[in-house]
């Protein structure tokens, strides 16, 4: 039973008040995109055993989407932040580096 901090309401919220929304920072492939990009956009999800960035909605609260940086192997949460960002904020990235020195960095180390 996760508890995540809603960056908008400023309270820690039980998982049952939230809706998970999958991988964060996806770039939409719309009209005109090629087949491979479009397939990747729809289906090719990062599925790391470790640091992961994902979307959540505070659906029973303020209704806002936010992002969480979380470890999938321990469920540790490195931070939550606005969904209206292209990449995780610096302080969150620094916290991850401090906790996981082997983390390759946002968008790095994704071999494919």
């Amino acid at each position: 039973m996760l508890s995540l901090h809603c960056p908008y309401c400023g309270v820690d919220v039980d998982e049952t008040d939230l809706t998970p929304g999958g991988e964060a920072h996806l770039v939409r492939s719309g009209s005109g995109s090629d087949d491979a990009d479009f397939e990747a956009y729809l289906f090719m999800r990062k599925n790391p055993r470790g640091v992961h960035f994902e979307r959540w909605r505070h659906s029973f609260g303020c209704g806002k989407w936010f992002h969480a940086a979380r470890a999938t192997d321990t469920l540790e949460v490195f931070g939550t932040y606005s969904a209206q960002t292209k990449e995780p904020p610096q302080d969150v990235q620094e916290r991850i580096r401090a906790r996981r020195p082997d983390w390759k960095g946002f968008g790095k180390g994704d071999r494919i």
């Binding site: 908008y8 309401c9 400023g10 309270v11 919220v13 039980d14 049952t16 008040d17 029973f60 609260g61 303020c62 209704g63 806002k64």
Partner: protein, 189 residues
């Protein structure tokens, strides 16, 4: 408007605490830039009150204003004044980017009274219901049992709860069950 009926038609229950259908209540959802002075001025003009801080509900003579999200307020007025208040706000904000809409009929409102209102809610809401977790004057949007709800305490013995109208009778039954005499665990020593 004598034909207008609230969802439980004024029902009440006396148990460990009192549960009342609080009747029809005017409610307006206002979405917009809460930092915008014109918006706060419009709210002030319509209700006589300034904007609440995040998670707070501010009460005045003519109603109340609650913070619902970074771009949303819920304004409480008399049921019969909801439409005219929307009009007032719309006029004041003409040309601005905002949304004001009457949601009075989409809601059911319940009043809980007595020692133990916190414990009744704690049976169903994943919220720290202690005074430090939910101070008087703070509104919390969350779930109660299996449905969405918002509630706040105006003092230690008075709690108001708002939910969607379609589940109003379910919530009333839920509250009465939770408030059954002799079933509240004491939250002190």
């Amino acid at each position: 408007m004598s034909d207008a009926v609230s969802v439980c038609n004024g029902a009440s229950f006396s148990g460990a605490v009192q549960v009342l259908d609080a009747g029809l209540c005017g409610m307006i959802t206002l979405r917009g830039d809460l930092a915008d002075e014109k918006l706060s001025a419009a709210v002030k003009a319509a209700t006589g009150m300034g904007l609440p801080k995040p998670r707070r509900i501010k009460k005045g003579k003519r109603g109340a204003v609650a913070w619902m999200s970074p771009d949303e307020l819920l304004i409480f007025v008399d049921y019969d004044l909801a439409d005219s208040t929307v009009t007032k706000i719309e006029r004041a904000l003409q040309g601005q980017y905002f949304l004001a809409v009457n949601v009075s009929d989409a809601r059911a409102t319940f009043a809980l009274q007595g020692t133990g209102v916190r414990e009744v809610i704690a049976k169903g809401a994943p919220v720290d219901m202690s005074p430090q977790g939910l101070p008087v004057g703070e509104i919390r949007r969350t779930r109660l049992g299996q449905v969405a709800a918002a509630f706040w305490l105006s003092d230690e013995e008075h709690l108001t709860l708002v939910c969607f109208r379609s589940v109003g009778s379910f919530v009333y039954d839920w509250l009465c069950n939770a408030a059954t005499e002799g079933t509240l665990p004491r939250l002190t020593g």
